[in-house]
């Protein structure tokens, strides 16, 4: 993490995400639903950005496109300078593993793995050494106050702790961006605040974060806020 934190101001202008004219529609047998009608979005390194919008406006759809879990119909999308138009399934899988961290509303932890093992899982998928895995996971568990829980299983944790584990897991491979879909959606106010604080703390490591949420208090921690509606995205003043 230290390597990221020592980036210069110059590098902060580095573009992590660039979407231009992204369109996406879902075809059901009776109708075609145009969810995204030309989304333009640029995110720089170290920024924390939120996207809000009414339910069904396509926030998750957009996030899934950014996370390379979904395809788009037209437009241009590049992540960390890589154009995603012609990527194979395997290349996308490698980018997801190395460059993107996912945080979900429902945490999506592996129930049969301990906190430590859950956090180390993405590193394991990258075949990092045991030593590196332990070092990195200890770092993250300390950061998120999970050190005492390291041998616990997800069902033995509070929901706030589970979400912290999932954020630690998202960070473990030093991704260029963390994508959070409703990270506080399942949490009470207090836990939500803790999570927001943790996310905000990541600023000092220059971590780029994109958060989709309904929670207005996100604005405490974000640099820029967007509203997605009618298939278009607009930056809020």
């Amino acid at each position: 993490m230290n390597s990221i934190s020592t980036k210069t101001m110059n590098q902060k202008e580095e573009i992590i995400l660039q979407l231009t004219g992204i369109e996406k529609s879902y075809k059901t047998y009776s109708e075609t639903l145009h969810v995204l009608r030309g989304v333009d979005l640029t995110i720089h390194r170290g920024e924390i950005v939120s996207i809000m919008g009414p339910s069904g406006s396509g926030k998750s759809t957009l996030l899934n496109i950014i996370g390379l879990l979904d395809t788009y119909d037209s437009g241009m999308y590049s992540i960390a300078g890589i154009d995603t138009t012609n990527l194979t399934r395997k290349q996308k899988q490698q980018i997801r593993l190395q460059k993107i961290g996912f945080v979900f509303q429902t945490f999506n932890l592996i129930q049969t793995l301990t906190v430590q093992q859950n956090i180390e899982l993405p590193m394991n998928l990258l075949r990092k050494s045991q030593e590196n895995q332990h070092k990195r996971s200890s770092e993250l568990m300390a950061e998120f106050g999970l050190t005492t829980k390291k041998k616990k299983f997800p069902y033995q944790l509070s929901i706030g702790e589970q979400q912290r584990v999932s954020i630690a897991r998202a960070l473990v491979n030093n991704p260029v961006i963390i994508l959070c879909d409703e990270p506080t959606g399942n949490l009470d106010e207090e836990n939500a605040q803790t999570i927001l604080n943790h996310l905000s703390n990541l600023k000092r490591f220059n971590t780029t974060i994109l958060i989709v949420t309904h929670n207005p208090s996100i604005k405490q921690i974000t640099d820029r806020n967007f509203i997605l509606s009618h298939g278009k995205i607009e930056q809020q003043a």
């Binding site: 879990l69 979904d70 593993l97 592996i110 049969t112 180390e120 045991q130």
Partner: protein, 385 residues
């Protein structure tokens, strides 16, 4: 974290599932093995059970030392017999005398014994005298039953030492022939009068003579040993088919059992696989976990299943055989003792079963996880998470 940790945790944390899978695999191995081996054994034995005289020549030969009693009240046409003797120009044709149904019952209620050749004539004479029906100079074949624990037997005022016992399976013969016999009687319209004569194989060279004789004497059916073979073959085929159908059903049931265990196992893990996929795991990695995990389950299942299969087959087998052949001496297909346990065990069949179960197990796991992983597009995951 080592990736094997995930497999290990899965096996140890979901204990009930793991135990169920292991027991399931073991059970399917045991049931299919016991079924396959017992039925295979049975079908190989039916050839003995349904063979009228397993060693025809031996029986003939034995006829010089023993007589084998015929059931009282059987129909026999002495004229036919002597006709045949002259016709074929031999001293005496061994006869198989087939009882009527009601006679058969009384036959089963009486214990029939083998007696020495020297005593035959006296015995036959006395029976003949009493019943008025028996051949006077017979060394002929008669169906027998078993009872060895007596040393001698008094029949019709004569006491005969028991020197041998005809094994029980001859009684199957009676039934078979009776079935055939009554059809024969119906066909020939000679109800109650038809005689079935069993002729030794050396006479079968005169097949045209036999045919001619049968044509001239419609109430007589000469059963050649090849006809007997054919008869046995039909019944044997029927039994074998029945047995095959049964073992196919058992194998099918146990394979479906393993299949549903796999389904349960893998679908309970679908969410894990989805998370792996989102995080960026290779499909290969997921397959690997499925294969390794199933391999561990399979091996554990086999470790339990193999000894239990051997033991349960052996116990069932010796129990069944001990009941069937308690006092058989003529029929030496079985010998008692511990060699029961391994002697009849068909290792090749057993290994075949193990292989089928193993391949089914791993194959199903792969197919199901392939279906599970292929079925959805990644884009659909977002709806769930």
């Amino acid at each position: 974290m080592k990736f094997n940790q995930y497999i290990f945790n899965n096996l140890t944390q979901k204990k009930v599932r793991t135990i169920l899978c292991i027991i399931g695999i073991a059970t399917s191995l045991v049931s299919s093995t016991v079924m396959a081996l017992l039925t295979d054994y049975y079908s190989s034995r039916t050839s003995t059970f349904f063979r009228p005289f397993p060693e025809f020549d031996e029986v003939l030969e034995r006829g010089t030392n023993f007589i084998q009693l015929i059931p009282v009240g059987s129909t026999i046409d002495l004229e036919v017999k002597s006709d045949l003797d002259t016709y074929f120009n031999i001293d005496s044709i061994p006869l198989l005398i087939v009882p009527n149904n009601k006679d058969l019952l009384s036959f089963y209620n009486n214990y029939i014994y083998g007696v020495p050749f020297l005593q035959q004539q006296i015995l036959f004479q006395s029976i003949y005298l009493q019943m008025g029906r028996w051949p006077q100079n017979s060394n002929e074949i008669v169906v027998g039953n078993e009872y060895l624990d007596k040393k001698e037997l008094t029949l019709f005022n004569h006491t005969f030492p028991i020197v041998g016992v005809i094994s029980k399976q001859y009684s199957y013969l009676d039934r078979i022939i009776i079935m055939d016999h009554s059809i024969l009687e119906q066909k020939t319209g000679n109800l109650g009068k038809t005689t079935v004569i069993f002729i030794p194989s050396f006479l079968e060279k005169n097949i045209s003579k036999i045919d001619k004789f049968e044509l001239e004497n419609s109430h007589i059916d000469i059963l050649t040993s090849s006809e007997m073979e054919a008869l046995h073959g039909q019944i044997g085929d029927f039994m074998n088919n029945l047995v095959n159908v049964l073992s196919v059903f058992t194998a099918g049931a146990s394979i479906i059992f393993v299949f549903s265990l796999e389904l349960m196992n893998i679908f309970s893990r679908k969410k894990d696989f989805d998370i792996f996929r989102i995080l960026g795991a290779k499909t290969k990695t997921i397959f690997q976990t499925v294969v390794i995990e199933n391999f561990i389950l399979l091996i554990s299942g086999l470790i339990i299943g193999i000894p239990v299969s051997i033991l349960s087959f052996s116990l069932l087998y010796s129990y069944l055989i001990l009941n069937v052949n308690q006092s058989t001496t003529f029929f030496t297909g079985f010998s008692k003792g511990w060699n029961y346990i391994f002697h009849p065990f068909q290792w090749d069949l057993f290994i075949e079963n193990i292989l089928i179960i193993s391949i089914a197990n791993i194959g199903f796991a792969l197919i199901i996880s392939l279906i599970g992983l292929r079925q959805y597009k990644l884009s659909e995951l977002k709806q769930k998470y």
